[in-house]
Every structure is written in C-alpha cells, then in structure tokens.
C-alpha cells in the first residue's frame, strides 16, 4: 500500500510540473498584460518602464527559472492588476467554487445512483428506457446551454430565480443543476451498466437463492460490488468538473469563484493570478484523482494486493 501511495504521489508531482510549465509558456506566448489592460497610448519608453516594473523584462527562460524558484519557496507573486498576493486573490475565491462543486457532486450522487439502479432493475420496461433516454439527452447538452436555458425560463420569463452571485440558497439552484447536468447523465449510465454486470453474476443468484430480500440483494450485493466502478467514474468526472465546468457556469451566474477569476485573468493576461489559479485547480484535480485511486484500492482488495 505504501509503495502504491508513493507511486501515486510521484505521478501527481510530474503531472503538476507539466501543467505548470505548459501554463507558463502558453500565457506568455499569447500576449502581455501591458497591451491588454494598461490601455492605449503608451510610448515605447513608457511600455518598457512598465515591463521593468512588472518584472517582465527577462528572457522567457529567466522568467521561468524565477517562477519555479517562487513555486518551490511558496512565493507565487502579486497580481499585476490589484497588486495583492495571488495566494490571497485565489484563496478568497476558493470557498465559493468549493461550495458549488460540493453542491453539484451531492446532487449528482443523490440523483444519478438511484436512477442508475432503477434503470438496471427495470431495464426491460419503459422506466429503464425513459431513464436512459433522459440520460443520453442530458449527456449531449453542454452546461452552458443548460444554464442559459434555465436563465431564460426561470429568471427571464418566470422571474423565480436570481442570476447574479451566491448570496442565498436560491442562488445555488441553477448553477448547481447546470454543473451537475452532464455529470448526472454520465453517472446514471455508468451505474446502470455496472449494476447490470454485477446483477448477472453467480453470487447474486446465490444471494437470491439464500432468500434475501430483493432490496438487500440489489443494494448490498449489487451496489456494493458495482461501487468500485462508480467511485472511479465519480472521481474522474468531478475532477473534470472542477477544472472545466466551473469556468462557464461561474461566468454565466457571476459566481465569485475561481472559474470566473481565471477567465478574467486570462483576458487581461494577469500571469501570476492565472498561474497560481491553474496550479490550484490542477492540485485539486490531481488530489481528487489520487483520492479516487486510493478509494478504489480500499473498495477493491484485489487492486490493492495486485499492485503492491
């Protein structure tokens, strides 16, 4: 188990390093903050002065080395725009994004797993078909379409739900649904398939033969074994959601989270915020993946034993 954890850690660090490097290079090749947010009308001399002031005057390599030194010593620099430490700028957004992610994952699990089980049990009836049709449709609708549609119906037409910010419970409804939409669809399908696999196995027949109630068969023996697959899917999808889904949804709902922060930082090329923001998200994704691996191993002794 320790060797297994060590391997995961090394893998995670390498992944993070690659992400950080790509982010560094990509942001710097795509334009610089002097041109994008300091406005028009600088003389060449004034531009040079600001480039020095923001310490952008070294070669790309020098800047990269300076940046890596900062990462190692925990110094991630100041935002170009508001001149606050990026750890603070990103940190104060973390909770808002975390809340939304947590709400979405909870909603997903509460909806998708029962639906998946339902679809597996009633796979031959209209209930199973209906669930799967909705799941397929849901998978095909990107979160921003879902978000805009909800805004149109529930805010613009009906005026039931607010669209701006995260001030109350009502504010959570649309962003949470928009974030979970695709996830619910994916997890429902995976749960159904995993359950079907398991329910066809010999030990289920044995369990039934023992005279266990159907509920006990399905939930304990069925879901207990299908759980391994389900966990890995939740892990992967949540990671993807943390990285990508929030950017769009947070922008639409003016959610003061990391996604919206990153969009703004990218537009004005606020490198330090962008870099640290991406690192934060990457760490979250890598951590979720690592946790998934661990959970996977705990849930299935075969993996744990085979790998160590």
């Amino acid at each position: 188990m320790i060797a297994y954890l060590a391997r995961i850690s090394v893998k995670s660090v390498v992944t993070l390093f690659a992400i950080v490097t790509v982010t560094f290079i990509a942001t710097r090749l795509s334009g610089n903050p002097i041109d994008t947010f300091l406005g028009d009308g600088l003389t060449a001399e004034g531009r040079a002065e600001l480039i020095r002031y923001f310490q952008l005057d070294g070669t790309l390599w020098q800047q990269y080395v300076a940046f890596l030194r900062g990462v190692v010593s925990g110094e991630f620099g100041l935002s170009f725009v508001d001149r606050r430490p990026v750890t603070q700028v990103v940190g104060e957004r973390l909770w808002a994004s975390g809340q939304l992610l947590l709400a979405s994952v909870t909603l997903t699990i509460l909806v998708a797993i029962p639906l998946g089980i339902l679809a597996a049990i009633y796979r031959k009836s209209w209930i199973g078909s209906a669930v799967m049709t909705v799941a397929f449709a849901g998978y095909a609708v990107p979160s921003f379409i879902l978000a805009i549609l909800m805004v149109l119906v529930f805010s613009y037409w009906l005026n039931w739900l607010p669209v701006v910010g995260n001030g109350s419970f009502l504010h959570f409804i649309m962003p949470t649904i928009a974030m979970s939409g695709v996830l619910v669809a994916a997890l429902t399908r995976f749960t159904r398939n995993a359950m079907l696999d398991v329910l066809g196995q010999d030990f289920i027949r044995t369990a039934r033969a023992k005279g266990l109630s159907e509920a006990r068969v399905v939930l304990r023996h069925g879901l207990g074994n299908a759980g391994v697959t389900v966990i890995s899917v939740i892990g992967l999808q949540v990671a993807g959601l943390a990285a990508a889904g929030s950017v769009v949804v947070e922008s639409i709902f003016s959610w003061p989270g990391i996604g919206q922060l990153l969009v703004n930082a990218a537009l004005i090329r606020d490198y330090p915020v962008l870099q640290f923001g991406v690192i934060t998200v990457a760490v979250a994704v890598v951590a979720i993946n690592a946790l998934t691996d661990v959970a996977y191993a705990l849930a299935d002794p075969r993996i744990r034993l085979a790998r160590s």
């Binding site: 795509s30 028009d40 009308g41 060449a44 600001l50 725009v81 001149r83 805004v151 005026n159 003016s254």
Partner: protein, 516 residues
C-alpha cells in the same frame, strides 16, 4: 390640516431619501481604484463619485463652464504660475481635513512622479507642469514650464484628483514616506472627498458606495450603490429584468430592442467620446508610398460600417475631431472621405501589384472590432486592394511588420490634445512605436497647436496637422462607437456630455430614483 400635511411631508422626506439604494450590473468592475494611475474605460466609470478635482465643470454642457470644486478661486499670478484658493472645511472619507499639503501631495505624485504607473500617465498630459507648492494651508501654486492654454482642462483631469497625504503614506512601510507600495495599497482602500465613500471593494467583483454625510457640496441623492460585476451580457440583461440590477452597463446595439420592448425598462446611450481607428504603418517597406495608404483609407465606406454594425447610431467624423472639443471642434474640415474611384486611381498611379495587406485585430477587444475588420477588407477588395484579416490578441502596433490594424483614440480630456494630441504627438506613442513619422514642420504645427494661447492659432495649426495626416495617412478614425446603458423606468440617469467616456455620475442632480 396644513400643519399635519407639513409634518407628514417633513417626516417623509428623510425616509424617502434614505430608502434610495440601487444596484448597478457592470460588465466590468475595476481591479483597483486609483484615479492617478488609471486611464482605462473600466476605471473611469467609478472615480467621479468618490473623488474631486480642484476645478470642475458643468457636465451637463458640451462647452466647458468651469466651476469651483476643491478650489474656490484660481488666477494666474504670473504667465506660468496659477494660484488657487482652497475650499475650507473639506473632509476626506476617513475624517481627515483637506489642506494644501494633501493637494500638493496629490498633484506632485503625478507632476513629479516616481511610481512607474504614474510616470507613464503623467508624461503625455502633465509634462508642462514641473510642480505644485504650498503657500499656506489653503493656498497652493501650480507652476508651468511654458504658458499653458489648457490650465483648467488639465487641472480637472481624473489623474489629478485629490487624495489624502498622511493616510496614503501611512498605508505601508515608513508613514512619512510615499513608497510605491503605499500607492498600490491605496488602490485597494481608496479615500477621497467626493459625495460617496467606497464602503466595500472586492477587486473585479464588487464595489459598494455609501453616501458620505460630510461631503462639502450638495448631499448625494443615493444612500447606497452596489456595483456588481456581471460579465455575461445575457446575465446582465436578465438581472435587469429580474430586478437584481437597477442599471446595467455596456449593452450591444443589437440588444437594445430587447430592453426597449419591456414596458418597465428603458435605455440611455450616447456616441462615446472615443474613436475606433484604423492605423497604418508608414514605415512598412510595401506601404511607404503614401498613395497606397490613401487608397486604404479612401476605400472604406465608414457610413456603411456605421449602418451595419451600429444601426447608424455611431458617429462618423470628417476629421479627427469631436463636438466635445468645444472651440477647437472643426466639423467643416474634411480630411477623411469615402471615394473608391479615387482609391483605384491612386493604386494604379502607385503601381500596386496586388500584394497582400494584413489588417490585425484582436478577437473581442473592441466591440464589433472583428466584424469591422472583415467588412473593411471586403471594402478594400471592392477598391482594388488585397486585404486579409489577422486575428491575434497580441498588440502588433509596435511591430515593423505591421501593415494595418484597429486601435482606439479615446478622449482623455476635452481638447484635441486629449485625443489626437496624446496619441500622435511628436515622440508620442505612435512615433515611438515606429509606425508614424514626424518632421520639423509637423513638430512646428504641433507646438502651435499645443501651446498657443490664441484659439484661432490653435485651430489653424490643428488643420495643418490634419492635412499632414491626409497627405501621408497613418490613421483613419472610423467612428465613435455608440454605448448604451439599460435601466428601470423609475430611474432617471443618462451619460453626460461634459464627462470623459463611461463616467457613472450619481452626484446630486445627475440621477433621480422615483417612488421607492
């Protein structure tokens, strides 16, 4: 009975006033608030409510009518020295009283700037002012290097709004020294003398103004204003409809009808005092012949761009001029025209062989920027030019490979010097980037335009500059984009002609909210 009515009315008055709270849904909320270092369109929205200049103007009028603000009177005591008497009993939002020390500090932070973001902004417009000095607690003098035709204009710039000295210096490090980090800290905790104090500021997210009860002038009409960033246009429009916002900013022309159809809502707008321009590189080897650049300019039907992209609401200028420039506005001068026939003839004369001319544009930096670029290259094709749009977020204005691209020339203050004069001065941004050349004759015209104290001389000199641009084009002003705000019908607010673009002026008399 009368007495009862009177007491009721009196009792209702403060209640009515204190109920005044609105929320503004802004496409962008600043990431910092320092009127000195900022000259962005985002920032200019927010300063006038919280800060004052020494001299102000009547913003309801196009022509400048100077009014006393933090200075109650001013006069030239020598041709290059202005003495200003300061208003007594003015308090900053932190409770400190404003004295000459604060004023001198605020002016010299720009006039003798050491903080790089101040340096670059002070150079282009405040270069003629070496220093300000204190005479006594309520008297200051401002020195000019040369006679200055634009005293009031330049003393009322956003960049020289007054901030408190002791407060700023004490923000970080040594409380008696103004360090760079003090100015950076100030931008997150701004303090001024205006009618609204910044009660809460979350960079790039939220700004809350509260009425400042000790304001020296007429009390602010609103008790509280929340400005929240709603970057998505669709969300902004929805927020206005749901009532989450009372005013929203930056509505694209094609969205206006959506708001106007709603019986509860209305829009207000104006042609912004800012030109979207096309710039051309005089020094590109293939474009050195001015006839080719003349043709690039003549082939563009700017009225068609206006109709198609701005529903005809933008303003297409005949030369680099705007009505806001008062006495210096010269609408009769025509130096930019649409004449595709002449464009073709010039290309023939110049022996244009059909080489490709690139037009650079960012994908979304300027409203309609990409669409305009595509339309322009199409118009070029009709005029015999082989154009190609290059989309890139990188600024190419300083590249020797630049052929043409879009840019903007904002009016930083109401004078041609505040627009053309900043961008196209000898050794200014355009020349220093290597795409625009000036010679002695140009510099001579520019000198007279900038420094002559005779309006007619300035106008004549400006005409000379415009003729030079016509002969050897480096810029074509396309139009003044039309900018709109949406709001509830109960709110009476509109952008004012005497302001620089985008100012959200919520001072007394400039906004009213009915029946809350």
């Amino acid at each position: 009975m009368f007495r009862l009515m009177l007491t009721t009315a009196l009792a209702a008055l403060p209640l009515y006033a204190s109920a005044q709270e609105i929320t503004v849904g802004a496409a962008n909320v600043s990431s910092y608030l320092d009127p000195g270092r900022d000259h962005s369109n985002v920032g200019s929205q927010f300063y006038y409510n919280s800060f004052d200049t020494l001299i102000d103007r009547d913003h309801s009028k196009l022509d400048p009518e100077w009014t006393p603000a933090l200075a109650t009177s001013w006069e030239l005591i020598e041709p290059t020295v202005m003495e200003l008497k300061l208003r007594e009993g003015v308090t900053f939002h932190n409770g400190e009283e404003m004295t000459a020390d604060d004023v001198v500090f605020s002016l010299n932070r720009m006039m003798q700037a050491t903080f790089p973001p101040y340096v670059v902004r002070a150079k282009d417009r405040l270069a003629n002012f070496p220093k300000a000095e204190k005479v006594d607690d309520y008297t200051v003098r401002i020195h000019a290097a040369r006679e200055e035709p634009l005293w009031e204009t330049l003393i009322s710039l956003q960049q020289v709004m007054i901030i408190p000295e002791d407060y700023t210096k004490a923000l970080t490090g040594d409380p008696d020294v103004a360090e760079d980090s003090d100015y950076e800290a100030f931008a997150l905790a701004p303090v001024g003398t205006g009618p609204y104090r910044v009660a809460e500021f979350q960079p790039g997210e939220k700004l809350v103004w509260e009425r400042f009860d000790d304001f020296w002038g007429e009390q602010a009409p609103l008790r509280r204003v929340n400005v929240v960033q709603i970057s998505e246009t669709a969300s902004r429009m929805t927020a206005l409809r749901t009532g989450e916002a009372d005013i929203i900013t930056n509505i694209a022309p094609d969205q206006l009808s959506l708001i106007e159809r709603d019986p509860e809502l209305k829009t207000a707008g104006s042609a912004t005092a800012l030109f979207h321009v096309m710039i051309m590189n005089q020094n590109h080897p293939k474009l050195e012949d001015p006839r080719i650049r003349q043709a690039m300019s003549l082939a563009i039907d700017r009225d068609a761009l206006n109709e198609a992209l701005w529903l005809g609401k933008a303003v297409v200028p005949s030369t680099h001029t705007m009505a806001e420039m008062g006495a210096l506005h010269q609408p009769d001068l025509v130096t930019f025209e649409y004449d595709p026939e002449r464009a073709r003839a010039l290309l023939d004369e110049a022996g244009y062989d059909g080489f490709e001319i690139t037009f650079d544009t960012a994908s979304s930096y300027y409203t309609n920027g990409l669409l305009a670029a595509q339309a322009i290259t199409q118009m070029w094709a009709d005029g015999g030019l082989n154009g190609k749009v290059v989309v890139s977020d990188t600024w190419t204005g300083g590249s020797p490979d630049l052929m043409a691209r879009n840019w903007s020339n904002p009016m930083y203050f109401a004078d041609p010097f505040g627009s053309f004069g900043v961008m196209w001065a000898p050794e200014g941004p355009s020349q220093s980037e290597g795409r625009f050349n000036t010679d002695e004759a140009y510099a001579d015209s520019w000198e007279r335009f900038r420094y002559s104290t005779d309006v007619e001389t300035r106008k004549a000199a400006y005409r000379e500059l415009m003729e030079r641009v016509k002969e050897d084009p480096a810029v074509l002003p396309l139009y003044r984009p039309f900018e709109s705000w949406g709001m509830k019908k109960s709110i009476d607010w509109a952008p004012m002609p005497g302001h620089i673009p985008y100012v959200l002026d919520f001072r007394a008399g400039n906004i009213t909210v009915a029946g809350s």
